[in-house]
Amino acid sequence: MNQPFGELGRFAEPSLYILVSLSAGPKHGYAIMTDVEEISGAPMGPGTLYGALARLERRGLIEALEPEDRRRPYRLTGLGATTLQAQLQSLDGFVRTGLARLSEKAP
């Protein structure tokens, strides 16, 4: 994945899912987790979720809002939205190229 996702190591893919989840609006940890499971079809562990959240927050891609009871919602920042858009466009180009090549090879 491109920068800054490349720096995130094993948290790159979970981070992308989290950003996509937050692009629909602020969510707290449990809501992100269930939403990501719905999007990706695979469960995301709590350790992975918070490892990714800490990194995204540190990089200014998401920000924490005031806690509601013990839950703390997060939302996408402007930088986060721009980064996500660039990342998705890059993936979109990658997917199109891959599909086009496959269709060229098809008998």
Binding site: G9, M33, G45, P46, G47, T48, Y50, D69, R71
Partner: protein, 242 residues
């Protein structure tokens, strides 16, 4: 659940513990989640280590002082307990050990917790007055209270500074101060006699020195700002970066 969260570094817990526990309450972790949490904790430790800038050498001074105080105290107690002749001369080392322990406390910490320290000093002053009271029971209670406040208070303040959690601080206070005082009281009121050559009562002072050694080691590893250093927030979110 909270046991799992304790695997994470202190800085991480200060920032995320509440919401993380709330998440685990809403979705109790499966075996797979537990493995994921342990992995996340290891990762949090490694990433915070990588992100932390090395502390200036002056941050090691308080820990070294606490460690020295604990070592001098323990060595003096062990010497008294194992030597029969002239052993009590080593008692002179205990005030020196206390001085080292006390000197490990100053710095930005003393300014930040000035009110708490003023209360401790006031209570200690009251106990000194009480020790000179004409009623023997007041003298005894004041002496025990003075010991608890001075030694227990110093150890607690050092433990807070070293980042020891509430449970660890209580454990140290009970093992190193409350139990020795409780054991010593019968001897002090004459229920149990102390005969020459019996050093069991000396050995009960050893946990205090050992506690200071542990607190000093932790303080030295974590680093604690001194009076010459600018104030540092120990839970700066920056330490959580990858």
């Amino acid at each position: 659940m909270s046991r799992l969260v304790r695997l994470y570094p202190g800085a991480w817990r200060n920032r995320y513990e509440d919401e993380f526990l709330s998440l685990l309450d809403e979705r109790p972790p499966t075996a797979r989640d537990i493995v994921d949490i342990v992995r996340g904790a290891i990762d949090a430790h490694l990433s915070s280590l990588a992100a932390e800038e090395p502390a200036p050498w002056t941050h090691r001074i308080p820990g070294a002082l606490a460690l020295t105080g604990g070592a001098v105290w323990s060595a003096a107690i062990l010497y008294i307990a194992t030597r029969s002749e002239h052993a009590w001369e080593a008692m002179g080392l205990l005030p020196i050990a206390l001085l080292f322990m006390f000197l490990s406390l100053p710095g930005d910490y003393m300014f930040a917790h000035g009110r708490r320290i003023a209360v401790v000093l006031a209570l200690e002053g009251a106990s000194v007055v009480g020790v000179n009271a004409p009623v023997w029971a007041v003298v005894l209670v004041s002496a025990a209270a003075g010991y608890l406040i001075a030694l227990g208070g110093m150890l607690t303040l050092a433990a807070i500074r070293a980042g020891v959690g509430a449970r660890g601080r209580w454990l140290a206070l009970v093992a190193a101060v409350l139990v020795p005082v409780a054991i010593s009281l019968p001897a002090a009121v004459g229920v149990m006699g102390i005969r020459e050559g019996e050093f069991w009562y000396v050995a009960i002072l050893l946990p205090y020195g050992l506690s200071w050694i542990l607190v000093g080691l932790r303080m030295a590893v974590r680093g604690a700002p001194t009076i010459v250093d600018p104030p540092v927030n120990p839970i700066e979110p920056g330490v959580l970066s990858a």
